[in-house]
Amino acid sequence: MPKVNINGTEIEVDKGTTILRAAADAGFDVPHFCYHPALSIPANCRMCLVEVEGMPKLQPGCYTQVNEGMVVKTKSERVIKARKAVLEFILLNHPVDCPICDQAGECKLQDYYVDYDAQESRQRTDKQNKVKAYPLGPEVVYDGERCILCTRCIRFCDEVTQSSELTIVERGDRAEIRTFPGRELDNAYSMCVVDLCPVGALTSRDFRFKCRVWLLTSTDSVCTGCSTGCSIHLDHFRNTAQRYRPRYNPRVNDYWMCDKGRLSYKQIHDDRNTAISVNGADVNWHAATEALAPKLAKAVEDGGDGVAFLVSPQATVEDLFVAKQFASNVLKTSNFYMGGNAPGESDKFLIRADKNPNTGGIAHVFGSMAALSPFPALVEAMEAGKVKVLYMMGAQTPCNDEMRARFVAALEKVGLFVFQSAHAAELSGKANFVLPACTHAEKDGTFINFEGVRQAIHQAFAPHGASLPDWQIFMRVARAMKNPMSYTFLAEIQKEAFAAKPVIEAEPAAEQPAPSAE
């Protein structure tokens, strides 16, 4: 364990630690562009140069490992001068793009210029012109003039996705990032390079010119695209989700997430159920539950066999916990069927075949998946006329198009179809009761991923229209049926839901990114 002295602070670090890391531990930020904790270290931006006593030249802090007794200065006059020089070089050919640049506001070049340079331009010649808005792939657009050639994107494609699409072409001030001939930046994680880019050279085609970043509010959430459940920042503006960004979580997704998941934020606002309707008529919650209660009560009287309950793995653990209680105690049925999205593609990195974020939550709440019958069994029962009442959570069904068509057709044979969902799909028009639920962006809750990692999601904005979290809808219906449940706060449900059986592995306590992340 070597001991080093950084700006007068003694600190003991592991052998092999770089100066940049050791300085971060000691509480000193060393500015850097090309260094990223998850990637290899090329030490090419020279922004992290620090002074090491006994070494004649300044050393790159990201690359140089500490030795016993090393004395490092990160704020000396020489270091400050070197940083100013580096920034001046980088800014020489940087275009005056801030007003039209998506990165403006979260740009390291801007931050570092103000923190470490803050001197006027001395340039008397024209800036070098390079490509603008050059598509590297279907999701990523490149701006050569803004690029500072830190090669983070190249290293990401080499080391993380190992697809090696990118390289640098040309030399000197004409150097640019390009794909290899005949290649496209089209791997499943291509948009991660947009997050990695410290400047605005790589922009997301989806987010380009959509919203200025300083207007966004960021809420910690979880991607609902598959059962990996990548930790995300849900960035939103005026009650609308604008983008997802991966949130560092070493237990789940590190710094990354896939493009499909990243773009799945669009589903939050697509095709929403926002009004409560009873046989096509818009009503309020009170009227709807009062109309629904006697009908459900009659079905319960007739015996619970005719009641089928479709459970969605898109819902949170809390929703599922209340759903189970509602079905068992109020509807007196145990005919649970599995809903959610149909399985899809998978890979060996982050993408899982199970396209639901909370299948683990179903297993947790219902004990095991065996408590639920598969979806085709429901369709068969409906076609046989055995289902009198269908209570459906979520609009998704885990089946192919043919089965879906059979399901939709079989809805005609169901006496009472209660459709509690955030999305309308083609089902709202067929439902006797449409109860609008809200999406994960509009409520708090918990997801349990395929490995049993428990992650909290947080409410980003107010529920759309009249929608409510699923558990609150169950509470309302139960109350109308004179069989109320006693929850007021989500914490009460959580206490019960996680008391019976502790989750396999709890969410890691340290949610904060490692020092000097990004």
Partner: protein, 401 residues
């Protein structure tokens, strides 16, 4: 016979104190404030003051604005002399930042501050006369204020909500013909001053209403924390400009007029004299000041020139960061005070090192005065409230914030 009847009635009248609500919207209380008066006949026995009717939450609003965005809010503190508030706030933030403004800027701040003080004093004198029925004097004083506002408008682009101050300087230099225009304005102001003086200072009706009314002793004034004209009228010569000089006040020669009795008439006289002193200060500043930059050269604080912003990335970034994230003021706290129209205007500011103030507290001179105003009312006639409330010059925007 007749006298006997009156006598018996007099003896039998049962009197008891009457409670009278004065305000919050009383034509003679300029500024919404409520007095709950207990009257014995026409004499005020007790006065309970209630302020806050013009509360906008300035101090809270400031917490959600960048340091620069606070300026428009300061305009609305003492809205009769907004420039003084601008500069008071700017000085406080500059103290926290530890930056100095160029010499010319100090002169400009002194000049524009005094021009603004003229507007404050002329309004107070004119309105005071008006409230006692002297419409003519009011018109003269307000003409003076209009001339002053024309000057302010020429330099700042606005008459009332000027937002002229900037952290590290001012919005713009004085206009090239400012000195010339001032010369013309000055002449007329002196005429107006002389005319108002003739109309009021020896006017029997005016004297009867002003002399000996609204009296406060120096001891009481100091103990209540009074500053400004209200304090100086009692004979205490405290003026921030003289005692703790800032801007260019240490480079100019001016007197601090004081009164003797602490009554309304002394406050009127002090204001009248301060109008002359302000003119004197402006004359000296214009003679002394030299051309030069008006803004600090600290790139972290002052916006770069537009030509550089549009043409170099360095200045573009600097502009962008200052506008969107605000000036980064180091963590710390400061109390900074200047002499505003009504007394010591203090800004207590706490920064947590971000682009927005963590806390701003304003020591509003009007608010402090209102804390002890019952001392000036109690024991005097109800009618005396009108001139007294004028000469202490409570400004709702500043008092209630």
């Amino acid at each position: 016979m007749a006298e006997d009847i009156l006598k018996s009635i007099d003896q039998d009248i049962h009197t008891e104190p009457m409670i009278l609500q004065m305000g919050p919207s009383h034509p003679a209380t300029h500024g919404t404030v409520r007095f709950t008066l207990t009257l014995d006949g026409e004499t005020v026995v007790k006065c309970e003051t209630e302020v806050g009717y013009l509360h906008r939450g300035f101090e809270k609003e400031a917490e959600n604005s960048t340091w620069t965005q606070v300026f428009p809010y300061t305009d609305r503190l003492n809205y009769v002399s907004p420039v003084l508030n601008n500069f008071g706030y700017a000085l406080a933030v500059e103290k926290l930042l530890g930056i100095e403004v160029p010499e010319r800027c100090n002169y400009i701040r002194t000049i524009m501050g005094e021009v603004s003080r003229l507007s404050d004093h002329l309004t107070c004198i004119g309105a005071g006369a008006l409230e006692l029925g002297a419409m003519t004097a009011f018109l003269y004083a307000i003409e003076g204020r209009e001339l002053v506002w024309d000057l302010i408008e020429e330099v700042t682009g606005a008459r009332l909500t000027v937002t002229y101050g900037r952290i590290g300087g001012v919005k713009d230099d004085l206009t090239p013909d400012f000195a010339e225009r001032w010369k013309a304005t000055r002449e007329r102001l002196l005429e107006i001053h002389a005319t108002t003086d003739k109309l009021l200072t020896r006017n029997r009706i005016f004297l009867d209403r002003m002399e000996g009314t609204g009296v406060i002793t120096p001891e009481a004034a100091v103990s209540y924390g009074y500053t400004g004209v209200t304090l100086r009228s009692t004979g205490v010569a405290y003026d921030v400009r003289k005692d703790h000089p800032y801007f260019a006040y240490d480079k100019v020669d001016f007197d601090v007029p004081v009164g003797k009795h602490g009554d309304n008439f002394d406050r009127y006289l002090v204001r009248m004299e301060e109008v002359l002193q302000s003119i004197r200060i402006i004359d000296q500043c214009l003679a002394q000041m030299k051309p030069g930059p008006v803004n600090s050269d600290d790139p972290r604080v002052v916006l770069p020139e537009k030509a550089k912003v549009y043409n170099t990335i360095e200045s573009m970034i600097q502009h962008f960061k200052i506008i969107f994230e605000g000036i980064q003021v180091p963590p710390g706290e400061v109390y900074s005070y200047t002499e505003a129209g009504n007394g010591e205007l203090g800004f207590y500011i706490v920064s947590n090192g971000t682009g927005k103030p963590w806390k701003i507290h304003v020591r509003a001179p009007s608010f402090i005065v209102m804390g002890g105003i019952h001392k000036l009312f109690e024991g005097s006639l109800l009618a005396d409230i009108i001139p007294t409330f004028d000469t202490i010059n409570m400004i709702g925007g500043e008092c209630d914030r």
